[in-house]
Symmetry: C2
Subunit: 240 residues, 2 copies
């Protein structure tokens, strides 16, 4: 069974939703047969990253929120408090006061590389923690190289990927797929390309959809049956 999760590194509900999904997976008996893939979604493709080492940029998350969404400061602060409390309930220490604004196209490229190298979940988790708890600049290349290397990627390879912008196309492909599937907000979970779950739902909701999808999982329906396996090549040669 395959679960694809569209998500951004700077998306609070994505980190909270990841914990809830993990809780569901931990109690799902067939978890060993579940493959998870993290897909790219940029909340704001036009975001600029704060310059490295400028702590001034770290302040004012509530002000930025209020300005961006036209709410007042109190409303923005209330939103932050709610998300911080929900995060705490999942064992996450959200420190919006430290958050450094970032464009995430580079982070998503590193996460794509991590998928190829078998350490995608570790890298995704590391970057979320860096942004939400540690106040790291996840739009900064040196920072990304350091963080990715901490959890198993090769620093030189990460740097080469970012220098060449090697996986921009893969990020854009994920985003085009999201659009084709009608995904406008994240986190968004897709199970076997059949079931969609929008948002950081409670763990029970994820358990339910995993169980439903598992019960209904089906082998491929073999179409064009007449000639069957007529003309194939396999390890033992080609049929004629």
């Amino acid at each position: 069974m395959k679960v694809e999760i569209w998500s951004d590194v700077v998306c609070p509900w994505c980190h909270i939703g990841k914990r809830r999904f993990e809780a569901a997976l931990a109690q799902f008996p067939h978890r060993e047969q579940v493959e998870v893939e993290w897909k790219a979604f940029e909340l704001d493709p036009h975001a600029t990253s704060a310059p490295a080492g400028q702590p001034a940029d770290r302040a004012g998350y509530a002000e930025r929120l209020a300005a961006k969404y036209g709410s007042d400061l109190a409303g923005a602060q209330q939103m932050i408090d709610t998300m911080t409390a929900q995060a705490a309930a999942e064992g996450l220490d959200f420190r919006f006061d430290r958050a450094v604004r970032a464009n995430t196209v580079d982070a998503h490229q590193v996460i794509h590389l991590a998928g190829l190298r078998g350490v995608q979940d570790a890298v995704k988790e590391r970057l979320l923690r860096a942004y939400f708890t540690e106040g790291e600049g996840v739009g900064d290349r040196d920072t990304l190289v350091r963080l990715a290397a901490e959890v198993g990627l090769d620093a030189d390879e990460v740097r080469a990927v970012l220098d060449e912008q090697r996986y921009v196309g893969a990020v854009r492909a994920d985003e085009a797929e999201a659009q084709a599937l009608g995904i406008s907000g994240v986190p968004f979970f897709v199970v076997d390309r059949r079931y969609g779950v929008s948002g950081a739902q409670p763990a029970e909701a994820f358990v339910e959809v995993l169980e439903r999808a598992w019960a209904e999982r089906s082998p491929l329906v073999m179409a064009a049956g007449g000639s069957g396996d007529g003309t194939v090549c396999g390890p033992d040669g080609c049929s004629v």
Copy 2:
């Protein structure tokens, strides 16, 4: 709609099947909405490539077939004649007398790169023609770099991919997926992870499965509906 095709570069029915599938696609009214992805399958992962520039290795395809599969030479030649005739009927010029034996793990890595760069079909086609018609050594790295560059890949990038063996993991992942889906011979076509078509079926069979899958295509079923889009972040901010 997505069609994934497991295939090898040295698989005769894969080249013939590609033409038949293309013929089906050409007459399918919704072809613009069909995405094709070429997936790796090695007929013989232990194959050794003939040394570059050794024309002696080019001879004796029938002998190699006969030895490998324990048939007699006449039987092997008959198999070759049948496949050559079927290929000719699809406009392909199979020259088994020129074929250079090759391990294809590097070719599959180049095809994976081509997928990331948006030229996968062109590269797949170029390598098939090189092997079946032109007697090129598709297990040879210099040859792969040259052929891939002819159809739009960057020669330096192809060389770097092969030097680093960058996408071996992706090739193995394709093969593991094939195994999970019960695919033991190629070509094998999977439509929307729902329908499977084994072998180089006639074009009409592909048209039929494309039409069936199109009629049954469904948007995602939204599960865990209660809280709906409760807690997501989108371009306009996060809900609380």
